[in-house]
């Protein structure tokens, strides 16, 4: 197996040929912020969080999609990169409708975590407050477009791991949206195997398990009645 020697933040790191800078850094214990990368599926460099500086290249490159090369010199934490990363996160917050206080994943959200990581205490960009929909047609899952950051993790996980290819990206530019099937309600898409991998992969609360939203905390009051009257009525099952 061919080994490439590269330098990350001044440290000598040996990497396997064909490995990405992100993987090589990860193996060496150097953390590079990322959002659209998910272990086990192909990378697309959608989020731009893992941009790094490679000596000799006048443009920043995404670490997840750039293979290591012999004697590559990589910087991951220059002041400019840190500033850009914070700007990206601020733009993500300003672009959608991210209301952490009323979100199903508050406290378990990778976008929220990233905001903390890059030191975002407010957004310098004006919030767009776009008009977006919610799809609750699936019996098990829900989709809230307000929280979608178009990382396309769900698209790739469904296609590459489950092999069902329920998800795609439709539209262009700021109108781009994740769609199920041929832009049908999720519940109507036969290809969906209800495996839930897309929900597991979602970094935000855009895809979620039904029943987890505050308004959905349904109580089974009849169960109490059943337990109380079981002996009298001699009904032991229901």
């Amino acid at each position: 197996m061919a080994v490439k020697s590269i330098k990350i933040n001044g440290r000598m790191v040996s990497a396997r040929a064909g490995e990405s800078i992100l993987e090589a850094a990860e193996d060496a214990g150097i953390h590079i912020p990322r959002l659209c990368h998910v272990e086990g599926v192909s990378d697309v460099a959608a989020c731009r969080m893992c941009l790094v500086k490679v000596e000799g290249n006048n443009k920043f490159v995404p670490a997840c999609m750039t293979p290591v090369e012999e004697e590559m010199i990589v910087e991951t934490e220059t002041p400019k990169l840190q500033e850009y990363r914070r700007m990206i996160v601020e733009l993500l917050f300003a672009e959608g409708n991210h209301v952490c206080a009323v979100c199903v994943v508050n406290g378990n959200c990778q976008l929220q975590d990233l905001a903390i990581e890059v030191g975002m205490d407010h957004s310098r960009f004006e919030y767009r407050f776009p008009v977006r929909g919610v799809d609750l047609s699936h019996r098990l899952f829900g989709r809230d477009d307000n929280r979608c950051i178009l990382c396309t993790r769900c698209v790739r996980v469904c296609d590459e791991i489950e092999g069902a290819h329920v998800w795609d990206v439709a539209g262009r530019g700021s109108k781009s949206r994740i769609v199920s099937g041929l832009k049908e309600p999720w519940g109507k898409v036969d290809a969906c195997t209800e495996c839930g991998k897309c929900v597991e992969s979602c970094p935000t609360g855009a895809l979620f398990f039904k029943g987890s939203a505050v308004g959905e905390m349904e109580r089974d009051r009849d169960k109490l009645k059943f337990l109380i009257t079981a002996r009298q009525k001699k009904e032991w099952t229901r």
Binding site: A101, G107, D121, V131
Partner: protein, 181 residues
């Protein structure tokens, strides 16, 4: 030593940030030794005074009164803190922005759900008109410190205020200090 003049104001928010402030419990006694609370929704002062050193602003800018008041507060305050997610991001009050202009929520609240004589409230000078777009405080006036959280936990409030009392700026970093929600 003259005491630091502290004010707290309540704009479009649920007052949860102020409740969290009160959760500082016995530390409020220590705070009271160092500051004069010159204006607050929990103190009956009618007018926002001049020469305020530090002000905690809870809530987003949602109506004409908020808009006018925040300019006055900014003018009369040395150090302005966006206090909580509504002030920092506009948060829940801004969820009406996605529906369009103010008349959408007014229509829903006062006409569709109005059981007896449904009508829009219109009392100039008494009931402030809603502005069309709810905004965070810093979109209207400059802000000196952002204290996120819904609400910011009491410990976070203390960690932000304590350095200010010594004339230092707090370090707003890490999950304990800047997590939204």
């Amino acid at each position: 030593m003259t005491k630091i003049k502290l004010a707290t104001v309540w704009l479009a928010g649920c007052s949860g940030c102020h409740m969290s402030f009160l959760d500082l419990d016995e530390w409020l006694f220590d705070l009271a030794e160092k500051v004069d609370v010159v204006y607050s929704p929990i103190a009956d002062v009618k007018e926002y005074p001049e020469g305020v050193d530090v002000c905690l602003v809870e809530g987003a800018i949602s109506n004409e009164e908020n808009l006018e008041f925040i300019h006055q507060v900014r003018e009369r305050t040395k150090f302005l803190i966006s206090f909580g997610d509504c002030a920092v991001t506009a948060n829940v009050p801004a969820m009406r922005n996605m529906l369009g202009k103010a008349d959408h929520v007014l229509r829903r609240a006062y006409l569709e759900l109005g059981e007896v004589t449904p009508q829009f409230p219109h009392e100039p000078g008494i009931v402030p008109e809603l502005i069309d777009r709810v905004t965070p405080v810093h979109e209207v006036v400059p802000v000196d410190l952002y204290l996120p959280g819904c609400p910011p936990p009491a410990e976070r409030i203390r960690a932000a205020i304590e350095p200010l009392l010594r004339g230092e700026k707090p370090v707003m970093e890490g999950r304990e200090m800047i997590k939204f929600g």
